[in-house]
Assembly symmetry: C2
Homo-oligomer: 121 residues x 2
Amino acid sequence: MSYSRQATLSCDNNSDASCSVEAALSIISGKWKLKIYKILQQGTPVRFSMIAKGLGDVSEKSLSFQLREMENDGLIARTVYPEVPPRVEYSLTDLGKSLQIVFESLDVWGKAYIKANKLGV
Amino acid sequence: MSYSRQATLSCDNNSDASCSVEAALSIISGKWKLKIYKILQQGTPVRFSMIAKGLGDVSEKSLSFQLREMENDGLIARTVYPEVPPRVEYSLTDLGKSLQIVFESLDVWGKAYIKANKLGV
DNA sequence: CAGTATCCGTGCTGATACTG
DNA sequence: CAGTATCAGCACGGATACTG
């Protein structure tokens, strides 16, 4: 891990009210996080390779990194089964599930935006 | 302008429902956009230099770029007064104002996240 | 299978200098 | 005043090879 995070997370020096908003944004921002979320949303734990397959063209490193960030943020749970070959399953935590309403809000606005700007195609 | 946008915008090839969410995310993602939004939220049009002052340490190029993106996305209106010296004022459009509820949603979740992860300080 | 290590390309962002 | 042009740095994400 050569770099960590945008550092907007803790907002130590915050005198503004946008701290929580920026925290939320930094957590859900990431090229694959939304799609990972959608995959895990089904409810049953999903294996690393299955997530990779669901995403299509993600590299192992990128997927691993995004998953690790989501785990560190408390969005997903990582369960390792001490088997051979190794098996690791990921699932949404309650905190992760609570993102649902945020995505719904973004979905509603996104649709309104697309409509307003006539970006149908 | 040497580069344009992350290209997740139009979602031409979308077969998934996350298109609108990603569109919304790409639009509000940007180092200064949330703070610009907060400044313009007061209601009265604000001049370029006043926005810069409100942000503190943003470069002119970065601010200009963020404003241009927000304008292109229909979030803010740009009014040029043909005076000397030139005066340009920015204000939120109705579409921009409609982001309010999205930010509220992010704010609520962000607060819950901070609480869950004990990131107070 | 599920990663990690290393290298690398690109794009976002900033600093500085210049213009109408 | 309100930008634009150019240069530069670094974070991000990807490719490939290697490991427990």
